[in-house]
Symmetry: C2
Subunit: 225 residues, 2 copies
């Protein structure tokens, strides 16, 4: 962990908890790739809006998608500034002091102006990235989008130029005086880890009998890893 942000523009420079800022791009990629949905923020009629939405990453581009009918996507697509955050929660930190209670987490934030994809091939390639991020292997397995479905789907591209990563892990932070055994020796402190796993696949009720769950579903790596 270092004290510098990935791209030290004023708003992506991490001021609070600088010891939790991480600079290398591989850490940024790792956090983004481990997320399943992102939170997309934009300004609509002067007020902030944040929505959860699907996304994917290819190189230094983040793609988000949504309905072309959604006011949210229209606002973000018009070239306005957006902000995207992906946060993975790894545990709850129980400190000896209320003030130092915290969470262990990995969090990536991206700022920039979104660009709406209009070229059909570029849009299909981005949707492949988004689909395989949500459901690895599904792009080649499931039916490809029809012309109408493609028209209903808006895809935004966002450069990862202005991005920051924050990671907290490990044991609680404490004030030195809270560690004095005579004063606080009986107070438990530590981390309660949060575990995530895929459950058993639940087949669609319409599925004919005898259709096996494909390997890209059964062998999917554990979530948020």
């Amino acid at each position: 962990m270092t004290h510098q942000a990935l791209s030290p523009t004023p708003r992506s420079t991490i001021r609070r908890g600088k010891n939790r800022a991480v600079t290398d791009r591989s850490a940024l990629y790792a956090v983004l790739d481990a997320g399943i949905v992102c939170h997309l923020a934009f300004v609509a009629d002067g007020a902030p809006v944040v929505i959860p939405t699907g996304f994917g990453r290819a190189g230094d581009t983040l793609y988000v998608h949504g309905s072309t009918g959604a006011a949210s996507l229209r606002a973000a697509a018009a070239g306005a500034e957006v902000c995207v955050n992906v946060t993975l929660l790894d545990g709850v930190v129980y400190s000896r002091a209320v003030f130092h209670h915290s969470v262990n987490y990995r969090s990536a934030t991206v700022h920039g102006a979104a660009r709406q994809l209009t070229d059909r091939d570029e849009k299909l390639a981005a949707l492949a990235v988004i689909t395989n991020h949500l459901a690895p292997g599904s792009w080649d397995y499931a039916r490809e989008p029809s012309k109408q479905e493609l028209a209903k789907t808006a895809v935004l591209a966002l450069d990862l130029t202005e991005a920051a990563v924050k990671i907290r892990n490990g044991s609680p932070g404490e004030e030195p005086e809270d560690l004095v055994p005579e004063r606080n020796g009986r107070t438990w402190a530590g981390v309660l880890p949060l575990r995530h796993a895929w459950g058993e696949p639940v087949p669609c009720p319409e599925l004919p009998s005898g259709v096996d769950v494909p390997a890209h579903v059964t062998a999917r790596p554990a979530p948020f890893g």
Copy 2:
């Protein structure tokens, strides 16, 4: 599931996926209470910003907290509009079509102007709510905030007046033609549920031997339930 939002102002009226909108306030409370962190969006220098942060709920008030030194909290605290979203991810929906791939989720969004708490007692009460949301039982167990710690902590209050809940669960949506067995009878579709659990508590390395993990940690209910 109904077709009306909790508070049908224009921006909290759910336009997309209306069949996923839920109206009753108990559903709103349930989603908020099941979350661990929220995503707080605000406008800073004309651009949207979204950050993950701790929160809690008491009645129809949502509390978020942060450092008084954080530019984010200062911007939000100045009475400007904010937007808060809490999303719980329940599974990945594998459809026969790429277009209908989705997630099962519970999501709550709140819009409004935040009010910064300045009264000491009100602030302490709100911090108790936030602390016990993150770590139920910790407010009475851990050391209370010192005067300095309290001064470093900003707490914002947000009314749940303008709020909306969206929930998706169950099997994939499909186009009728994708359900024709002759055409698509060998394509698996269904839901891969996402399971969450607490791991074994990891004691702080500074902890003297013989300090048991307290019941409020060991008996904590499963996350996101």
